[in-house]
Amino acid sequence: MSTKRSFKVRTNFHQAKWDEELIFELHKPGERGFVVAPVEKGIEAEVGNGLSALPAHMIRQKAPDLPEVGQMRVVKHFMRLSQENLGGDLNIDIGQGTCTMKYNPKINDVLASNPKLARLHPLQDERTVQGALEVLYSLDLYMREISGMDRFSFQPASGSGAILNMVSIIQAYHRDRGEAETRDEIITTIFSHPSDAAAAAVKGYKVITLMQNEDGLPTVEDLRKVVGPRTAGLLITNPEDTGIFNPHIAEFVRLVQEAGGLCGYDQANVNGLMGITRAKEAGFDMCFFNLHKTFGTPHGCGGPAGGALGVTKALQDFMPVPLVEFDGRTYSLNENVSKSIGKTRSFYGTVQVALKAYAWVRALGAEGLREVSEIAVLNNNYVLEKIKKIRGASAPYARGRRRIEQVRYSWEQLHQDTGVTTEDIALRMADYGMHLWSSHHPFIVPQPFTIEPTESYSKEELDEYVAVLTKISEEAYTEPETVKTAPHRSVCRKIDHHDFDDPAKWAITWRLYKRKHLAKNP
C-alpha cells in the first residue's frame, strides 16, 4: 500500500436534518414510554395507597404537564437530535481552541459505566469502596508527578470549580494569618479564562487584570505597578490563550509571593507541557488540571467535567474535604483537614470522570504523556505555519516564535478586505462538517479564532481542516455572499437572535413559548 494518505475537502457534506418536533409536540394522551414497577401486593396490603399518609395540601393536585409519548418515539426523538449534533468523533474538532478537544477513548466510557462504579453509593462503608478510593489516590500520585505539587483533590466539578477552590484557599490562608481584610485584590491577565476573574469576584475580591504587550504577554513591569500589601493572589494561565509561553512566569510568581500573596496556576489546559515544565519549577503554590481537557475525558456537551486541584504541602490543611488517604494497606476518606475550606461540591467530585482520566494516564504512561505534549505542540506549530499562509489570516503577537499548544489567530485582514467576519466563517465551517470558535470575550484580537490541534489528529486531518479554512478564505474573496449567508448544508439556517434579549419574547421553556408566541398566533 502507499505510504501516503490523502485528504479531501468534503464539499458534499450535509449534516442530518430531521425537522424533528419538540418533545411536547409529540404528546398523545394515553401513550407512555415507561412503566414503573408497582409495589408488591404485601406492601400495598400493609400500607394502602401511600398517599393517605400525607396531609392533603402536600399532595399534588394537578399532574405535571409532561408529554405522553410511546417508547419507540421517544428513542427516535433523541436519536434524531443526536444526529443533529456533530460531536468530536465526527468533527475534526481543532477549531474549539483552549478546550483541548482530543480523542476520548471509548474503552474509558465502558469502564466508567461498570456497575461496580456506576452503582456505587458515596456513603457506603469504606471497606466496600476500596477500588474507587484506590483510583482517586493513584490519580493523585500521577498528578503530583505531572505538576510537582504535593497533594490533589478531585472534588472540583470543573475548571471553574477548581478556580473557585483556589480563590477560597487564598482567602482562608489570609484569614488564618489575620490578613483577610487588608488583602482584597486578585491579579489575573486578560488572556486567562474569564472564570479566573469571575470566581475571584464571587469571593469578594477586587480584580486587577493585566493587559498584554506587543508580544501578547503580560509584563513584569505592569505587575510591579499593582502588586503590594493588598495583593491576595495571582491567578494566571501560561501559556495563555495565545499559546505563547511566558518566559518570565517565575518572576511573576516571585513578586507576588514576596508581597505576601499566593499564586494559583490555571492549567486547565496542560496539554503541551506534560513532562516538559511543571507548576513546581515556576514556584506556584497551587495549580489545577481539567480532566476533560488534557486527560482525555469527554466533554459531554458541557459536563460532567472534572478539576484536579493540586497544592503544595504548605496549603494542604486548607484543602476541601475529604482527602483520600492510604496507609499502605487500606484507603480511607479523611474529613479532618484542620483549616479546610469545607466543601464546594457534593461528595468526592465527578468520580466517573476521574476514572476515565486514570485509565487514560495508565494507557499512556510517563513517556506517553510526554509524547502527547510533544506531538500536540508539533501539530500546533505545523498548523500555525499553514494558517499563516492563508489569505486574510494572521497570527498576532510574537512573530517568528514558536507556540505551545494553541494559537489565537485573526481574520482581521480578511474582514477588512471582504467584510466577512469570523462569525460568518464559523457558520460556513458547519457546511463542511466542522466547527470554528472565535475566542473568549473581550475580543482583544480582532476577528479572532483559536485553533488547538492536540495530539489526536493525523497530519491528513490537520491538512483537511486547513484546506477548508483556505477554501472559505477563497470564497470570502471571490463569492462573499456564500459565506455571509451560511450555513447552507447544516441543521438550520441563520437564527433570529432578537427574541433572546427581549424579556417580552424570550422563551426559555415550552410554557413560555406557548404563552408568548403560540397564544398570539394560534
Partner: protein
C-alpha cells in the same frame, strides 16, 4: 523494516511523519519548539508514572481488577440515600447519553450542535412543568451549587445581605453554601423541632428582618420528613420582603405539591434522581427554577437556552437568552461565573422525563411512598427501634431511632454489612440531638423480600441474637 509504531491515541508519533512535519516547519527537533521555556523551568527528570498499558484488553483487565474491590448496590441491599439515590435508570437513558454525538461534543453553536441546544431546551421545559415554574437553567454542578447560587441570586435581587437556612439541611450542603456565599451573604440557621423536624416558626419570625434576602429549607428535608408549613414560611418570608428558596427532590414531584404552589420564589435541587447513575456521588446535576420576571432572570449566572425562529419559515432555532449576564460575556462583571458543569446529566434527565411522562412520575412517587411506609412500619415493630424517628410524614427516606436498642448505629451498620446490607447513613455525628439515629432510604430497587430479610437480620442484631 521495523519502524516504531505509534501509540493508538497519537497518530503523528510515527517517526517518519514526525520527521516530515518537523522538516516542513523548519525545526530540528521538538525541543526547539519549546525554545521559549527557560532552562531553569524545564523539568529534566522522569515522571514516576507506571508504564503504558497501550493494549485495550489489558487496560480493561487492569481497571476492572481495581473496580472488583468495590461492592456496589447491585450486589447488596442498600438503604443509603442522604443526597444520592439508588433509583432505577431506564436503559434508554444510557443509550442516549452514551451516543457519541452527545458525549464527545462540547461548545458548538446550534449550526453544528443543534441537538444539544434542543435537548437542553426541552430539559429546561420538562423541568419547568415538573416544578410548575416558568424557567429552569441548563444544569449547574449539583444541588450544592444550585442552592448557593439561588441564595446569591436572592441577595442581588433584594439587595440584602443575609440568608436564613433551616438548621437541619444537609450538613455538607451547609458547608458548601457557607463557603460560596461568603462574603456577600451572612448565613444564619433557624431552629427545628427535634421531634418533627419542622422549622420553628417562632425562631424564624424572630430572625426575619429587613436585611434578610432569603429563607431556605428543603422539602423533603434532608432528614426525609415533609416540611408541611411551606405556605406559612413563605408568608412570613414575604412579609419581611425576603424571597423563599426551596430545595426539592424532583423525583418526588409526581405526587408532592411543587414548592411554587406554596410560595417558593426559587426552587433548586439535584437531577441525579432523574435517570443519572450514582457513580460514587459523581452523577449529580443542579437545577434552579424561577418565575419569568426579568429582574430575577437577569440574576442567573447559568446558561439559559431559548427557542427562536430562523430565516426559513417554520424552522426552529435555539440560542443563549440574555447572554450578557454571564461571565463569558463580561468576566468579573458578569453574574458569578459560568463554565462546564453537568449538561449530559441534563440530557439524561430530559430523556427520563420524556419516558416517564406524568403517569410514570406519579407511579414512581406512589411506589416510593408505599415502600418507605412499609419499611418504617416493619422497623417500628422491632423492640427499641423507632421509625420514623421524626413524627412527620415522609417521602422515600426517614430517620430511624436506635437509641432504645443500646447499640450504636456504627455497630449496627457493621453487623448489617456482614449480611451484605448497607444500613442507613449514621446521623449521630451530624445531628447529636437525635442520638443514635440513622437516615434510611428505599427506592424501587429494594424489594419487599429484601426489606423483610433486612428486618429479620436487624431484629437479630439489636436483640443481641
Amino acid at each position: 523494516m521495523t519502524e516504531r509504531r505509534a501509540h493508538p491515541y497519537i497518530p503523528n508519533s510515527v517517526p517518519r511523519v514526525k520527521a516530515e512535519m518537523l522538516a516542513e516547519i523548519g525545526a530540528r527537533d521538538v525541543d526547539e519548539l519549546y525554545g521559549d521555556i527557560p532552562e531553569s523551568l524545564r523539568f529534566r527528570g522522569k515522571m514516576d508514572i507506571p508504564g503504558p498499558i497501550a493494549s485495550e484488553s489489558l487496560l480493561k483487565k487492569h481497571v476492572e481488577g481495581i473496580l472488583a474491590k468495590n461492592t456496589s448496590c447491585e450486589e447488596a441491599t442498600s438503604f443509603l440515600g442522604a443526597g444520592c439515590y439508588n433509583h432505577y435508570v431506564p436503559v434508554i437513558c444510557d443509550e442516549i447519553n452514551r451516543r457519541s454525538e452527545f458525549i464527545t461534543a462540547y461548545a458548538g453553536e446550534p449550526y453544528e450542535d443543534f441537538g444539544r441546544f434542543q435537548v437542553l431546551w426541552e430539559y429546561e421545559s420538562l423541568m419547568a412543568e415538573l416544578l410548575d415554574m416558568d424557567i429552569c437553567n441548563v444544569p449547574t454542578y449539583d444541588w450544592f451549587q444550585a442552592a448557593s447560587t439561588s441564595l446569591r441570586m436572592s441577595g442581588r435581587y433584594t439587595g440584602r445581605g443575609k440568608a436564613l437556612l433551616a438548621a437541619n439541611i444537609s450538613p455538607d450542603r451547609l458547608k458548601a453554601i457557607r463557603n460560596y456565599c461568603q462574603p456577600v451573604l451572612m448565613i444564619e440557621t433557624v431552629a427545628f423541632d427535634p421531634k418533627t423536624g419542622l422549622m420553628e416558626l417562632a425562631d424564624l419570625q424572630a430572625k426575619l428582618s429587613s436585611d434578610v434576602a432569603a429563607v431556605y429549607f428543603e422539602n423533603p428535608g434532608y432528614l426525609g420528613f415533609l416540611e408541611t408549613q411551606g405556605q406559612r414560611i413563605a408568608d412570613l418570608a414575604h412579609a419581611a420582603g425576603a424571597l423563599l428558596v426551596v430545595g426539592a427532590d424532583p423525583n418526588s414531584l409526581g405526587v408532592l405539591t411543587p414548592p411554587s404552589q406554596y410560595g417558593a420564589d426559587l426552587v433548586c435541587g439535584d437531577i441525579q434522581t432523574l435517570g443519572n447513575h450514582m457513580s460514587f456521588g459523581g452523577g449529580m446535576g443542579g437545577f434552579i427554577a424561577t418565575r419569568d420576571e426579568e429582574k430575577l432572570v437577569m440574576e442567573y449566572p447559568s446558561r439559559l437556552f431559548g427557542i427562536s425562529t430562523t430565516e426559513v419559515p417554520g424552522e426552529y432555532g435555539f440560542g443563549d437568552v440574555a447572554y450578557d449576564r454571564t461571565s463569558f460575556a463580561h468576566r468579573e462583571k458578569g453574574k458569578e461565573f459560568i463554565g462546564t458543569a453537568a449538561a449530559l446529566h441534563g440530557i439524561t434527565a430530559c430523556v427520563y422525563l420524556a419516558l416517564m411522562g406524568p403517569v410514570g412520575m406519579q407511579e414512581l412517587g406512589v411506589h416510593l411512598l408505599q415502600k418507605a411506609q412499609y419499611l418504617a412500619k416493619k422497623l417500628s415493630a422491632i423492640k427499641g427501634v423507632r421509625a420514623p424517628g421524626l413524627e412527620s410524614p415522609f417521602y422515600k427516606e426517614f430517620v430511624v431511632d436506635f437509641n432504645g436498642t443500646g447499640r450504636t448505629v456504627a455497630e449496627i451498620n457493621g453487623a448489617l454489612l456482614e449480611h451484605r446490607i448497607f444500613g442507613g447513613k449514621d446521623l449521630s455525628k451530624d445531628f447529636p440531638v437525635l442520638g443514635q439515629s440513622a437516615l434510611y432510604c428505599v427506592t424501587e430497587l429494594v424489594s419487599q423480600e429484601e426489606i423483610d430479610r433486612f428486618v429479620t437480620v436487624l431484629n437479630d442484631i439489636v436483640g443481641g441474637k
